[in-house]
Symmetry: C2
Subunit: 187 residues, 2 copies
């Protein structure tokens, strides 16, 4: 089960069995049911989460009660409220499970400890963070530039599996388009 | 001049004079005139740039010739086409100078060398990247959620100096609103 975490790290830097065991000892395991919350608005955010199995959505609810989806997360993805996690403030996002889900949890304390202890894990986290930064820049450009049809097609091309697992309403919310627009595009 | 780079790194991790000298030896210096390009679309992207003096904008031009601003950068900020820089592909962004500008340039080779040589500089780059990630997530939420007025006020609150230095047309392009809307908001 933890092998997919090892595979992810080893895409960046090779590990011995002992090193991986040491890394893994800094994580805790959590199992959640469909619809269960991993994080709710105003929670203190203890952990970053590596998804071993399942599907989650991280979203913001505005003062009119409208949901805006920040990200989805499935196997091999990380998810938390990063602003709250890195700054140790309370959550502004909600994260709940669209499917039964299993995650490996890493506290900020353990993350910093691991990074201080092992240069190669700090290296791996830096590289992951750089890739994440680029992905968010692409999403910003797509929000600024593309029309609904182009956004839809970009997402379909980038994450084909998402479309089989995520309801259309949520895809629409992620893309910042109306449900009706999306139905027209995907029919 | 390089002191502002040292100050930025030392907000995260203290450095000896010798360490900073070693770090600095991996940078090259570049001086640009107002309107000069730092990067043009389809260039190979050699460097990330730390702004010592001046003001730049990084933007995407769509196939109708419309500009979308990805970011501004002034003193103490970093700027490049990160997708092209990290993946070593050609630029999709343009970056040019709104004021006479001086930057310190760090090639990807030197960045990786520094990070491999000095754990503490890798640490500092990881922390910076995490903060950058959070800032981009906030911008995405603001694009998904906020109306033009709210976006304008958030930007004004976050970066008051930008407003004194950047023409209104460009602020409008950054916020993804029309020039007319912005004039109404800022009058």
């Amino acid at each position: 089960m933890s092998q997919i975490l090892r595979q992810q790290i080893e895409k960046i830097t090779p590990l011995t069995d002992k090193e991986f065991e040491y890394i893994l000892s800094h994580f805790t395991f959590k199992k959640l049911k469909k619809h269960q919350f991993l994080i709710q608005e105003n929670d203190t955010v203890q952990n970053d989460h590596f998804v071993v199995k399942g599907l989650l959505k991280a979203y913001y609810v505005n003062h009119e009660g409208k949901e805006h989806i920040m990200q989805f997360a499935m196997e091999d993805w990380w998810v938390t409220d990063y602003q709250a996690y890195f700054n140790q403030t309370v959550a502004t996002l909600n994260i709940d499970c669209l499917e039964p889900t299993e995650v490996l949890c890493l506290s900020i304390h353990n993350r910093e400890k691991l990074c201080a202890d092992m240069h190669k894990i700090e290296h791996s986290f830096r590289k992951k963070s750089n890739l994440g930064y680029v992905a968010l820049q692409r999403r910003i450009l797509s929000l600024l530039n593309s029309n609904a049809k182009e956004r839809y097609e970009q997402l379909l091309q980038q994450y084909p599996t998402l479309f089989q697992r995520v309801p259309k309403t949520l895809i629409a919310s992620y893309l910042g388009v109306s449900r009706e627009t999306l139905s027209r595009l995907s029919s």
